[in-house]
């Protein structure tokens, strides 16, 4: 292998598994260290820089960071990153005067954002401080989009949503036209905005066209529409026996909301075995804790309506082969019910985009959107969030918003969309003195802290009572110490190495080896410890001065304890704090050419 290029910010970025896995590249270890120091304002702002909605995401994020977390490979359970994010929002003080100022003098560019959901608000968040005049068109009378309408208050209190959307909307530069659904793109184009961003989400719940579907429309509901009606107070009750069809996270919100508006016997009906569910494991656990029954291997067959009233649903009972690819029907059952909620997915719908405006539509009637620039085939019209490529989640919407904001800024400044500001990094030694580091380098064997929930006896007293209480001080302190500080990197200077083996001998996970060079497969077979995880990089040094061998580090389970640097007599090893300086709209850094990635057809 060639010597590893650690000048490339991506090498060290990949070592920080959580940050690499996060679509918005949140500096997780950085904010966890700030929490440990009690600097909650700083921790919140560091979060907000990348993910914009720490309080919201601290409760609702899909958490791609946690399965990636190195701690999971070290003791089996990842750091409770999401819970700690909520801590920053819960404990921060007033930070409004530390947000980027909105200039009074505008740059003369007017941007229209369609929808006040997470992706649009991220675009507004990035562009308003640059002097853009932002107009947001929102069909409801409150901002937040799906975060408002589809996530129940008992998971995400309205005050949290109000506060974090307010940080973007209420500081000038952004005006929101509420109750203003866009019904024609042509009409909007006529308003002569400099750029238009479509962040309308995927607002249409999927239908289940089975016999009897429309025989009692009053008692068969589309999940996201029903959640929206509950959220806006249009629906306050549901029948005693409720069936939820589908087992994604929307289904979990539907069943738990049903439990709070009159449902008592609630069943979530799934076609496939449990290991194939789309819902996050923690959401399944929360639903089951509330007495929701999850029924597997049942495929809906028909709605049973008697005398115009839904009385049951019929299901085929399935048996699956290994891998759950093929099923055979082994019987049919009738499950009595009073209401059915369909939560089998969402679709995009663009009836308001006229097809003669130069906005190309491809497969599934989806707009063709460039995956790097987020621009569609009509220059100046951008898409992001669920509206671009179908339903994902909030953190992806935020990531899209940042990138689209860069494109819009380029577009309005006459810069090629593919000339994008590049990510850079800072590397600063963490050494303070003899046996002194700027971070807690000891491995803390604490177990993952469990979230405390409101007692079941009180939980259903109000529809809006938040179930999760958040971490207390002791839980926060313990959980913060579980973080392995993967961003404090093991920096190696080959020219200083005297090959004394001290680092190789001291490493608690035997991730270091001094050996002669070779290709990756060969090197992996000759390391001090087995190297089972091929997804993790090998660091390879340039040849060492005395013997010409190389230092190899398997990044897989390095716990960043710093003992290699601690035992190195020549400081060839040093612990260096890595900070990713991610590029946002207006970043005054080197622009690099990024090839356009054609949108999916």
């Amino acid at each position: 292998m060639e010597p590893t290029d650690v000048e490339d910010p991506n090498y060290y970025h990949r070592v920080v598994d959580c940050q690499w896995a996060c679509p918005a590249h949140t500096d997780v270890p950085g904010y966890i260290r700030l929490i440990a120091q009690g600097r909650f304002d700083d921790a919140y702002l560091l979060n907000r820089a990348s993910n914009v909605f720490p309080g919201i995401l601290g409760r609702t994020c899909d958490r791609p960071c946690e399965p990636a977390c190195r701690r999971g490979r070290v003791d089996g359970t990842p750091v409770a990153i999401c819970r700690l994010k909520r801590v920053t929002a819960d404990l921060k003080g007033d930070i409004t005067d530390r947000l980027a100022p909105i200039p009074h003098e505008k740059n003369g560019k007017r941007i229209a954002l369609i929808g006040a959901g997470p992706s649009s608000l991220t675009v507004a968040n990035d562009l308003a401080p640059l002097g853009y005049e932002i107009t947001v068109f929102e069909k409801y009378d409150q901002p937040g989009g799906l975060m408002r309408s589809n996530i129940p208050n008992f998971r995400l209190p309205a005050e949290v949503l109000d506060e974090e959307t307010g940080m973007i909307i209420d500081r000038g530069g952004v005006s929101v036209r509420y109750n203003t659904p866009i019904t024609s793109l042509r009409a909007l184009l006529d308003e002569q905005f400099d750029a238009i961003y479509v962040g309308v989400g995927a607002p249409r719940g999927k239908e289940l066209d089975l016999p009897g579907r429309h025989d009692d429309d009053e008692h068969v509901h589309i999940g996201i529409d029903w959640l929206e009606s509950v959220a806006f107070g249009h629906i306050e009750t549901i029948g005693r026996r409720v069936l939820i069809i589908g087992v994604g996270n929307t289904a979990m919100d539907c069943c738990r909301t049903s439990r709070r508006v009159g449902g008592e016997e609630i069943k979530v009906m799934a076609r496939r075995p449990r290991e194939y569910f789309k819902a996050s494991p923690w959401e399944l656990e929360d639903a089951e804790e509330e007495g929701v029954e999850i029924v597997v291997n049942h495929a809906p067959k028909r709605f049973v309506v008697e005398d115009g009233r839904l009385v049951a649903m019929e299901f085929d009972v399935l048996e699956w082969d290994d891998g759950a690819r093929h099923s055979t029907t082994v019987g049919t059952v009738r499950v009595p019910c009073d209401d059915v909620i369909l939560a089998i997915g969402q679709e995009n719908a663009f009836p308001w985009i006229e097809r003669d405006l130069g906005v190309d539509f491809g497969e599934w009637d989806m707009p063709v959107v460039d995956e790097t620039t987020f621009q569609c085939s009509r220059p100046g019209v951008f898409f992001g969030g669920d509206a671009a490529w179908g339903p994902k989640n909030i953190i992806w919407a935020v990531a899209h918003g940042h990138q689209a904001a860069i494109s819009i800024d380029n577009y309005c400044s006459g810069i090629e969309l593919t000339q994008r500001p590049s990510d850079t990094m800072n590397l600063v030694s963490a050494k303070m003195g003899m046996h002194e580091w700027r971070y807690h380098n000891d491995y803390n064997p604490s177990k993952r802290q469990q979230m405390t929930h409101v007692d079941l006896t009180e939980r259903f007293s109000s529809l809006n009572l938040e179930v999760e209480l958040g971490f207390n001080a002791a839980q926060t302190a313990r959980e913060a110490q579980r973080c392995l500080n993967c961003d404090v990197q093991t920096g190696f200077t080959a020219s200083a190495c005297i090959e004394c083996d001290a680092c190789v001998d001291i490493c608690p996970v035997q991730c270091l080896t001094i050996t002669h060079g070779g290709d990756e497969t060969d090197l992996r077979s000759r390391l001090s410890a087995p190297s089972p995880n091929l997804d993790q990089s090998l660091y390879v040094s340039s040849p060492l001065p005395q013997t010409g061998r190389v230092m190899v580090k398997d990044e897989n389970v390095c716990v960043h304890c710093g003992l290699c640097a601690e035992r190195c007599p020549t400081a060839a090893w040093d612990m260096e704090e890595f900070t990713l300086i991610a590029a946002y709209a207006g970043s005054s850094v080197l622009r690099i050419a990024v090839p356009a990635t054609p949108g999916r057809k």
Binding site: R73, E436, A529, C561, R567
Partner: protein, 351 residues
């Protein structure tokens, strides 16, 4: 907050030996030696040796005297027996322990000060008695604990960190061993575990005193330009022509050794030591040839490493003295100490 404790990581992908133990089970306390000390590498080599041999930790006895080297038994195999003796007296304590209990594996760790200055007489007698033990000299040419004065193993012309070059002839433990009738003599380098670990394994299997002189650079006082025991000097002047493989008993059945090396020696316990390469005309069982070869290279400032001399036919202390097969510690007290009447009888014989 700083920490220099080596943590136990639950899911680290560490291999297990025949006893189901990982290498971490063969470690000891954290070293308090200087960072980069050669002794720590030797500690790691010993840890690997016992782990790879699947030696049960409680069957190991580790002994030492005084010095940086003599601190190191604390840093390996925490489950073993240990005795940290007075300066230079490790060999005597080991002799006594080995005389009493034949079942333990004895490993003595000493340094050039402990063994070649104050303890040289004891070392000579332990060699002479051929006590079954591994005797490691961690040889760095300086007295590290007393701030780096040149020791008895310092070569002529080597420069201390401060002061004049050495003018007094060194004591070479290998030459001493050859003269004293040692039966297993090896020299190695702390920075070369690939060589040291097989030598340590063979030493554990050897029926007698296995003396291993390991050049172990002192990073604080003897790793500078002008030193003949620095990492760089060793890498530039080491002659590694004697290369040996150690094959434990359990692997012997599958491995065909015929023609594999220039010479194979079956060890006392049935394991096999193979000299994979030796220089032209070299005979590792011929004292005179070995001495001549080492002296020839010394004249050119070269340091010969490897398992240099082996005599597996010699008797060890127990055979020489016809001690009880089960060990003195298994002999009933009434037999060991038959009482004053028996003493009277004995005394009568001499009157």
């Amino acid at each position: 907050m700083p920490s220099i404790v080596k943590p136990l990581i639950p899911l680290a992908p560490l291999a297990k030996n025949e006893l189901g133990l990982t290498i971490r089970d063969y470690e000891g306390a954290m070293s308090t030696l200087c960072a980069g000390c050669g002794h720590d590498s030797i500690t790691a080599a010993i840890t690997h040796t016992f782990w790879e041999l699947s030696t049960p930790p409680h069957t190991i006895a580790k002994l030492s005297g005084i010095g940086c080297s003599s601190k190191t038994p604390t840093y390996f195999v925490r489950g073993a027996h240990g005795f940290n003796s007075a300066h230079g007296r490790m060999a005597t304590i080991a002799t006594g322990a080995a005389a009493a209990n034949r079942e333990l594996t004895y490993i003595g760790i000493s340094g050039d000060g402990d063994s070649l200055s104050i303890g040289i007489g004891h070392l000579a007698h332990a060699i002479r008695r051929n006590v079954k033990m591994v005797y490691v000299i961690e040889n760095n040419g300086v007295y590290g604990l007393t701030k780096g004065q040149l020791s008895a193993s310092a070569d002529i012309g080597t420069r201390p960190k401060k002061g004049e070059a050495n003018v007094v002839a060194p004591i070479d433990p290998i030459m001493l061993g050859l003269a004293m009738g040692a039966t297993f003599l090896a020299r190695s380098f702390s920075g070369d575990k690939e060589q040291l670990i097989p030598i340590l394994k063979a030493a554990v299997a050897h029926n007698g005193l296995a003396l291993i002189d390991v050049i172990s650079p002192c990073v604080t006082f003897n790793d500078h330009e002008g030193s003949t025991k620095s990492y760089r000097f060793m890498r530039e002047h080491e002659v590694k022509e004697v290369v040996t493989d150690y094959v434990p008993v359990r692997e012997e059945i599958e491995v065909s050794l015929a023609g594999r090396g220039t010479r194979s020696v079956t060890m006392h316990d049935g394991s096999v030591l193979t000299f994979r390469t030796v220089p032209e005309g070299y005979d590792p069982t011929n004292r005179l040839k070995v001495e001549e070869y080492i002296r020839e290279h010394q004249r050119h400032g070269e340091i010969v490493t490897g398992l240099l001399y082996l005599d597996e036919s010699a008797h060890s202390m127990h055979e020489i003295n016809h001690t009880p097969r089960d060990g003195l510690n298994k002999v009933p007290f009434s037999v060991l100490c038959p009482g004053s009447a028996a003493l009277e009888d004995l005394m009568t014989d001499f009157r």
